[in-house]
């Protein structure tokens, strides 16, 4: 066991660690990468941005050895490398940390970090040196408080990512790729992850960070490469970038009025929660009004998603009451909520929203068909689907296309349309733009505005604070499973953060 914390440096910082030259890759019908050339320098934080389908993920897959390239060279230390398998990539010192984390929940922190490269004597793992090694690596990246003996399943997402980073260090990674790893983190965790990235950089490791959030790029990047339609548009230095420039390069046009204007007028209360308590929230009091967008902000774990779960009848209500138009109602399950005109677009589109293998039509009409009893339902379902597909401008080659083949933004539109087809009065949106590119995001915002103007009560839960501020007429800030306070739509980011992180109250 001779692993070092510091990667072997053959050249000084600033020299290229990985040189990518003229890499192309095509799939039937798609040129995923066209003659892409990028350098990854030693000891830099290099952000890759671009809309979904721009080619970032394909390039990462090629570097990870999960896909082959059609042409082009990849050089490490002036040496052509094949990168023909994931093991190959690992031996070349390339480490990948993905949104869907590949940690093993059931085993300890130390075992995860050392997995496959254990400290051992013969077949036997040597426990004490293993734990010491893990602790040392965690300390390097500022997560020294994590116990090497803790079960990884008990950690937060941010801590799991730290475990993955420590693992990369153990494998003496020269380049660590983080693909959209911040989208599941709250602001505090994001800034800690940025600290980790900076630590890696200062030690001479290169960091490639893929994100959809431009503020994050502004915060952390040394250099930025913009991808569009499978090509590199430009690589920029930190000093050259601005958010508007990045958007223009990514989309190819300026997106003006990213958020629609908020001159909406709120109507009557359509759903009210009075002191509601469930397994995840306590004393939740909220008014949802027709014609307005209510934003729910708060740290991850503050009970935002759980508030929606309570309103949608998923978690059993143990205390308090729900009222519709002044009348007490009881929700015994999701179907009760749907019957009351309440709809929810869940947080994790892949695992909770779409049925990937089934068609756009089946995904869009799954709730509607359940309420339709006429004999001609198959024809009607197609009509409804084609109406919403054109209204919401869902880009799909056909209504029979498996939804898993659409982009994230188009999938999300189908899931929203699933509910619009049954004409709800309350629409609960949990992280409606997670993993969705800039162009489609603006479309989702316009859709939310349009629905509110048509009289829907819309609730938006989001970890993306500018999104909450840009969309909401009112903002409810949650903390420790309950409402910490309410702010007007004109509130500032600081106001929200202050409430979300405030101490005191009856938190225990």
């Amino acid at each position: 066991m001779t692993a070092m914390v510091l990667p072997a440096r053959t050249n000084g910082p600033g020299a290229p660690a990985v040189v990518i030259r003229g890499v192309s890759k095509s799939f039937p019908g798609v040129n995923a990468l066209i003659d892409v050339s990028v350098d990854i320098l030693q000891g830099e934080i290099h952000c890759w941005i671009g809309e979904n389908g721009a080619g970032k993920s394909t390039l990462i897959k090629i570097l990870a050895g999960a896909q082959s390239r059609d042409s082009g060279l990849i050089k490490l230390d002036n040496r052509d490398v094949a990168l023909s398998s994931p093991t190959d990539a690992m031996h070349e010192g390339l480490s990948f940390i993905l949104q869907e984390l590949s940690v093993v929940d059931g085993i300890t922190v130390a075992d995860n970090i050392l997995l496959g490269h254990e400290v051992r004597r013969g077949p036997e793992i040597r426990r004490a040196p293993s734990n010491a090694r893990a602790a040392e690596l965690l300390k390097t990246i500022g997560f020294g408080y994590l116990s090497p003996a803790a079960k990884v399943g008990d950690l937060s997402t941010a801590e799991k990512q730290a475990v993955m980073v420590a693992r990369a260090l153990h494998l003496e990674a020269r380049v660590v790729f983080l693909d959209e790893t911040t989208s599941t983190l709250d602001a505090d965790e994001v800034s800690r992850l940025f600290d980790v990235m900076r630590t890696l950089r200062d030690k001479g490791t290169s960091v490639v960070f893929v994100t959809h959030r431009l503020q994050e790029v502004m915060q952390v990047a040394d250099r930025v490469t913009v991808f569009k339609d499978g090509q590199v548009v430009q690589t920029l230095l930190r000093s050259e970038v601005s958010e508007s420039l990045m958007v223009r390069l990514m989309v190819g046009r300026e997106i003006s009025n990213f958020f629609p204007p908020k001159d909406r007028t709120a109507g009557s209360v359509v759903l009210a929660a009075r002191g509601v308590g469930t397994v995840g929230v306590r004393d939740l009091t909220l008014d949802l009004r027709s014609g307005e967008v209510l934003g729910i902000a708060g740290l991850v774990g503050s009970g935002r998603t759980e508030a929606l779960r309570a309103l949608f009848g998923i978690d059993r209500i143990r205390a308090g009451t729900l009222e519709v138009a002044g009348q007490l109602i009881s929700l015994r399950g999701i179907r009760d909520a749907i019957g009351r005109g309440i709809a929810m677009v869940p947080e994790d589109r892949r695992s909770q929203g779409i049925i990937a293998l089934r068609s756009v039509e089946e995904n869009l009409t799954i709730t509607w068909t359940d309420q339709e009893r006429s004999r001609g339902w198959r024809r009607k379902a197609l009509e409804i689907t084609s109406r919403f597909v054109s209204e919401l401008r869902v880009r799909t080659p056909s209504l029979r296309q498996p939804i898993g083949l659409l982009s994230g933004g188009n999938q999300q539109k189908v899931i929203v349309a699933r509910w619009l087809a049954v004409q709800p009065r309350v629409l609960l949106l949990d992280e409606p733009t997670r993993g969705i590119d800039v162009g489609a995001r603006a479309e989702i915002y316009r859709l939310i505005d349009k629905l509110a103007r048509e009289g829907l009560a819309v609730v938006v839960v989001s970890s993306d604070l500018p999104e909450i501020l840009g969309l909401s007429d009112r903002i409810v800030v949650m903390k420790d499973g309950t409402v910490a306070g309410e702010l007007p739509g004109t509130a500032s980011e600081e106001d929200v953060v202050a409430l979300a992180m405030s101490h005191g109250g009856n938190a225990s």
């Binding site: 890759k25 394909t58 050895g65 994931p86 993905l98």
Partner: protein, 349 residues
């Protein structure tokens, strides 16, 4: 002519993804091999024989196809076949009217199916364990009713159902045909069928979309148990007995048929037509091996191999160039899984 050649090639290209094609090819290859090895294989009488003996697998396989599309499993159908068949014969031999005996068999099948559903849905036991339990429970019930085959005392009419023909077609084949039609309709033409696919594709998403997941799953196991009861009536009648030993390994034939028919083990995909072909493959395989003179013990080896080969083929067929969605997929470390999700055409029909 070249135009035609091009369109044929396009058609072949499209069919490459269709799991039914592989099933038909396996069936044809088996047919060619066995007809070369035995001149009795490719006779009208033999084909009729095999079709009739495959009828039970088809009758039960349809419901099990739906169960497996919904990502469930039912191992208990062979034992239910025995318990319900023995019950019908026992009642008939004791002077109960035949149609009441049949109804009782169907009811017992439905009851055990409902028990499966209740254990899986209500008590949240995984299907493989739940139905492994009821497999033994049902077999026990069969032996409790009678420890050995009922041969005496059965009314003359007992054999009518299984051995007579309508318009030249054996009744067991007609029953299987009706069951096939019913489940094809249920799966492809009804909201219920859509929910079956949705649950197999993503149970959590289906639940959050308002689908009554528990109810659908319960009904599927109920239907599987009931169709085993139906198959038992026909089979016991054809065999002229009620035998607590029948149906041992029957669940295996059914599951092989379903998988050979292209139903994905990962759920969310599958067709009734595939299962029908799969049942014929299973039938022709044992029949062909018999005709060629392979010892029965070796037939176990052959069938077991067929199951493993079918599963491996399923895996290979689902492996795709994983980059259909270059912008979407975010898991470079799991290309196979990606291919699995994006691979086969999910649209029905």
């Amino acid at each position: 002519m070249t135009n035609q050649a091009v369109s044929i090639r396009q058609w072949i290209g499209r069919q490459r993804r269709n799991p039914a094609v592989a099933t038909v090819i396996i069936l044809l290859v088996l047919g060619v091999i066995f007809s070369l090895m035995s001149d009795r294989f490719l006779t009208w009488e033999n084909i009729q024989n095999v079709t009739r003996s495959s009828a039970a697998v088809m009758t039960v396989g349809c419901a099990v196809t739906l169960v497996m599309i919904a990502r469930g499993l039912d191992l208990s159908v062979g034992s239910i076949l025995a318990a319900t068949g023995v019950l019908a014969a026992f009642l008939a031999a004791n002077g109960v009217e035949l149609w009441i005996a049949y109804l009782a068999a169907l009811a017992l099948g439905a009851l055990i199916g409902a028990l499966n559903g209740a254990i899986i849905v209500g008590l949240k036991v995984t299907p493989i364990i739940a139905t492994l339990g009821t497999l033994n429970i049902a077999r026990g019930i069969a032996y409790l009713i009678t420890p050995s085959a009922i041969l005496v005392g059965l009314p003359a009419a007992w054999q009518t159902l299984g051995t007579s023909r309508v318009a030249g077609i054996p009744v067991p084949v007609i029953v299987a045909g009706l069951v096939i039609l019913f489940f094809s309709w249920l799966l492809n033409r009804t909201v219920f069928g859509r929910h079956v696919y949705a649950i197999g594709g993503n149970e959590e998403a289906a639940r959050l979309a308002g689908v009554r997941v528990d109810r659908v799953l319960f009904l599927l196991y109920l239907m599987a148990g009931t169709s085993a009861g139906l198959a038992a009536i026909v089979l016991s009648s054809r065999l002229g007995t009620g035998d607590p030993n029948i149906g041992i390994g029957f669940e295996f034939d059914v599951i092989v048929a379903v998988i050979l028919g292209g139903t994905s083990l990962a759920g969310g995909q599958g067709r009734i037509s595939g299962t029908v072909l799969g049942a014929l493959i299973v039938g022709f395989l044992s029949n062909g091996l018999n005709l060629v003179g392979v010892e029965p013990f070796w037939q176990y080896v052959a069938k077991g191999t067929a199951l493993v080969v079918a599963v491996v083929l399923d895996r290979l067929a689902s492996r795709e160039p994983s980059g259909i969605r270059p912008g979407l997929s975010q898991a470079p470390q799991a290309p196979e899984q990606e291919g699995d999700k994006s691979g086969r055409n999910g649209a029905s029909e």
